[in-house]
């Protein structure tokens, strides 16, 4: 299927989309914590994927490569969407972060807690704990220092620990 796509077969590309959209959107949603942003980011992933899939040589699993492409595009998308306003006003909280304290009862699932994490902590947590990237890789993807990536991961774990009732 991938070879057919590389040669320009659009039907094959639609099948590839149908096969992987769930994984791509799932990762976009975890990184953005916002349905609309995740949909736009996932759409851009598949637009860029068409342009980049010619570079895929099969050295790694396609899904691994696709997740890397998805992560980079989504982070880039977030940076562009939220960049100016967030940098100027130092806003980094996700919508869910502002929910009432009652919502943080222990019964809520991990997915919800991840959504509540502040943006930088959430991105690092998703990439490290769920996607398995090293902090060095995350630092390169997010343009933050390795130490900052580790600190954000620590911060994410601390918040999850608190919200999950372990403190």
């Amino acid at each position: 299927m991938i070879q057919a796509v590389q040669q320009g077969d659009r039907q094959a590309y639609q099948k590839l989309y149908q096969t992987h959209i769930g994984q791509v959107y799932g990762l976009c949603f975890r990184l953005t914590a916002d349905h609309a942003l995740a949909e736009d980011a996932a759409q851009e992933v598949f637009i860029q994927l068409w342009r980049k899939i010619g570079n895929y040589k099969g050295d790694s699993k396609f899904t691994t490569w696709l997740h890397s492409v998805t992560s980079n595009i989504t982070i880039s998308y977030l940076r562009k969407q939220k960049g100016w306003v967030h940098r100027m006003f130092n806003i980094e909280d996700s919508e869910a972060m502002n929910e009432s304290a009652e919502a943080s009862a222990g019964s809520v699932d991990l997915e919800h807690y991840i959504k509540r994490l502040p943006e930088r902590a959430r991105i690092v947590f998703v990439l490290h704990a769920i996607e398995g990237y090293r902090h060095e890789d995350i630092a390169s993807m997010t343009k933050m220092a390795v130490g900052s990536s580790k600190a954000q991961f620590h911060r994410a774990k601390g918040l999850l620990k608190e919200w999950m009732g372990y403190e």
Binding site: V5, Q6, Q7, G8, R10, Y13, Q14, Y17, I21, G22, Q23, Y25, G26, L27, F29, H35, A36, A38, E39, D40, A42, Q43, E44, F46, I47, Q48, W50, R51, K52, I53, G54, N55, V69, N72, I73, S76, K80, Q81, G83, W84, V85, M88, D109, L110, E111, A129, I130, K157, L160, K161, M164, G165, Y166
Partner: protein, 170 residues
């Protein structure tokens, strides 16, 4: 409850996470539309330029214009800082409006890839208005002038991105 318990519980919950999730709307139509005029992947050069030539030229020209205008007002109107600063803001705004209008006309018949781009444009307009309001108090504040220029550039990038998306990195 101990740290060990937490680490174990977190690991357990992570292993149970469902990685796949479906979007609420069908994204394929927009993707198909965006790729309608794209060549086959194996005919696309490996390295695509990060920005179009026209965008680069605009960025360079805008930077020179900004520096030139600011220097001119700084040197020529030292005792009329309020008037000079406001004139600079007006000049920057006019230049940006022309650039934005030209782009909107250029992409008038081209479908946008995101639905809320005009709302985003409006939000940036609001940001620009807030900065201009602050500039009325401090017309020669370089940080505010740079912020205004930054917002203007974000609007240009937004219009170009939603009509002809170009990502800086993968």
């Amino acid at each position: 409850m101990s740290k060990q318990n937490f680490d174990a519980a977190l690991a357990q919950k992570l292993s149970e996470l469902e990685k796949s999730k479906m979007p609420e709307r069908d994204l394929w139509q927009g993707i198909e539309l965006a790729l309608a005029n794209e060549p086959a992947p194996n005919q696309i050069p490996n390295e695509t330029p990060k920005k179009t030539v026209s965008t680069r030229i605009f960025a360079v020209a805008a930077t020179f214009a900004f520096i030139g205008l600011f220097s001119w007002f700084s040197m020529n109107q030292p005792e009329q800082g309020v008037i000079g600063g406001q004139e600079l803001v007006a000049a920057l705004s006019d230049q940006h409006r022309e650039q934005k209008d030209a782009l909107l006309v250029r992409f008038r018949d081209q479908p946008a890839l995101t639905q809320n781009w005009e709302q985003q444009l409006d939000e940036l307009d609001d940001a620009a208005a807030a900065i201009k309001s602050a500039l009325k108090e401090e017309p020669n504040n370089i940080a505010l002038l740079k912020m205004l220029q930054n917002v203007h550039q974000q609007q240009i990038d937004l219009i170009e991105r939603v009509h002809a998306p170009k990502w800086q990195q993968i």
